[in-house]
């Protein structure tokens, strides 16, 4: 099976600081890969490179076989920036959910969900509304379609954000610490939606600190530290018998909390 997401030797720095030092990662279609690791290990940066919200210096990323951000010029064999149009089309196929929701506060819930399908995909408004309603029902917010984000709880906002990303019919979903900004009692409702998505066969790359989610839902766990993938494997093995000292240390510190 070919990988839906294929990352090779990815290198990224901010100024003089290198945050990703050669990442190789494949995510097969329908798989849920959970990325864990201490803060500052480059997990979020990795996600931001995948839809090119952050440019990168070296390596390559392919989504559904298509190169992200750069192309190799056939004549000179040099790396050139992907045309903006292609990049936008590619981003439309990659869903992203953010730690701080980033809902559009001047639009209602349903306005948030239909915005990109209507403006980017050119979908008919009533069609977009019908699919948005189905998505909102799926995340348990059918009754909130005319509400503004400011009137929702954090958990509800994050579920709207998931529906908004899903509305574009993405091939891959990226989750960037989506429960980290939530009150503890609201984490469950968001994770439940993500479990449901995983069960439906969505390809997902999830950066999280929720170890139970990683264990139950992840097909694979990737442990990152200092810009490198230090260890990866199926969750049960990783959590019970971590192979590297750094992973053991990280898990031990989590338990102490």
């Amino acid at each position: 099976m070919t990988a839906e997401l294929e990352i090779r030797s990815l290198v990224k720095s901010f100024g003089s600081q290198t945050v990703l030092r050669g990442i190789d990662l494949d995510v097969a279609s329908g798989d849920v890969v959970v990325v864990i690791g201490p803060s500052g290990s480059g997990k979020s940066t990795l996600l931001n490179c995948i839809n090119f919200l952050e440019p990168f210096e070296g390596g390559s990323i392919r989504v559904g076989g298509q190169s992200v951000g750069y192309k190799i010029d056939a004549a000179t064999a040099r790396r050139i920036r992907q045309p903006e149009k292609e990049l936008n089309a590619l981003r439309a196929r990659i869903g992203m959910v953010f730690q701080h929701f980033n809902l559009f506060p001047h639009m209602t819930v349903i306005g948030n969900v239909i915005e990109a399908p209507v403006r980017v995909r050119g979908q008919q408004r009533d069609e977009a509304i019908a699919s948005a309603r189905a998505l909102l029902a799926r995340v348990g917010l059918a009754a909130k379609e005319n509400t503004y984000p400011s009137e929702l709880s954090g958990g509800q906002r994050q579920r709207v954000a998931i529906a908004r990303a899903l509305a574009m019919g993405p091939e891959v979903m990226l989750f960037d610490e989506v429960t980290s900004a939530l009150d503890p009692e609201l984490v469950g409702e968001v994770l439940a939606v993500m479990r449901d998505l995983a069960r439906d066969g969505m390809t997902m790359l999830v950066v999280t600190h929720e170890m139970n989610f990683a264990r139950d839902v992840g097909d694979r766990v990737v442990f990152m530290d200092e810009g490198l993938i230090v260890e990866e494997g199926e969750p049960e093995g990783f959590f019970t018998r971590p192979q590297t000292e750094r992973a053991r240390e990280f898990l031990r510190r989590l338990l102490e909390k």
């Binding site: 919200l53 903006e84 590619l90 439309a92 980033n102 990109a116 400011s150």
Partner: protein, 217 residues
């Protein structure tokens, strides 16, 4: 005090005519100024260096030069260069361009104050930079600038009084003419003051309406 009811009432006719000129001038200049300022504010973020540098230059010039000087320069200076514009056109240009410079800065500040997550979320959905600016960033930025733009508009309205120096029959000029023909200052100027005050009221009402309509949060 030389207040005289008869002169006051007499002055209302000419003052009303002046009001019309002042109101026309204000509405046109405010509108053009807001358009310039919105485009200018966005242009300040342009990736094309020359565009953002030009906008910075524009703002520096027109915030730095007094409006009165711009007016006189355009009205008396340009004819020397062979460009003859009528007083109304000169007034509209000077007021719009000065106002546009201030609004450029207001809009720029407002865009900067928005969370960068808004642009990231929009781009992550496949929106182009322009679409994200138009649909996501500007509507939020413009909600935040309603109050400062209302302030600028009121300032502009009052600054239109400077156009009496280039022989435009505005409200102030009408008052000045009654003053000299009737040899009375207080009566026509009470009317002038009231008229300016009255003209600002629709601007305040519009601001209140927009703030309610667009739920400023």
């Amino acid at each position: 005090m030389d207040f005289d009811w008869n002169i006051f009432v007499y002055s209302l006719g000419p003052l009303l005519k002046g009001c019309v000129v002042t109101a026309e001038l204000s509405v046109i200049s405010i509108t053009i100024g807001i358009i310039i300022g919105t485009l200018g504010g966005v242009a300040r973020f342009s990736n094309i260096k020359i565009v953002s540098a030009l906008m910075r230059f524009y703002v520096t010039i027109f915030r730095g030069v007094p409006l009165l000087v711009t007016l006189l320069f355009l009205y008396y200076g340009l004819p020397a260069a062979g460009i003859q514009l009528d007083a109304f056109t000169v007034a509209v240009i000077a007021l719009s361009v000065t106002n546009g410079a201030y609004i450029t800065e207001i809009v720029r500040g407002s865009i900067e104050s928005l969370d960068t997550g808004q642009m990231r979320a929009a781009r992550s959905l496949g929106m182009s930079y322009g679409l994200a600016m138009r649909r996501i960033i500007l509507p939020q930025a413009l909600r935040r600038v309603l109050a400062p733009i209302t302030n600028e508009s009121i300032t502009l309205l009052k600054n239109t009084s400077l156009v009496s120096t280039i022989a435009l029959a505005d409200l102030l000029r009408a008052g000045l003419e009654v003053m000299s023909s009737k040899a009375n200052t207080f009566s026509p100027f009470a009317g002038v003051a009231l008229c300016y005050l009255a003209l600002t009221l629709p601007l305040l009402a519009l601001n209140n309406f927009l703030e309610r309509r667009y739920r400023v949060t």
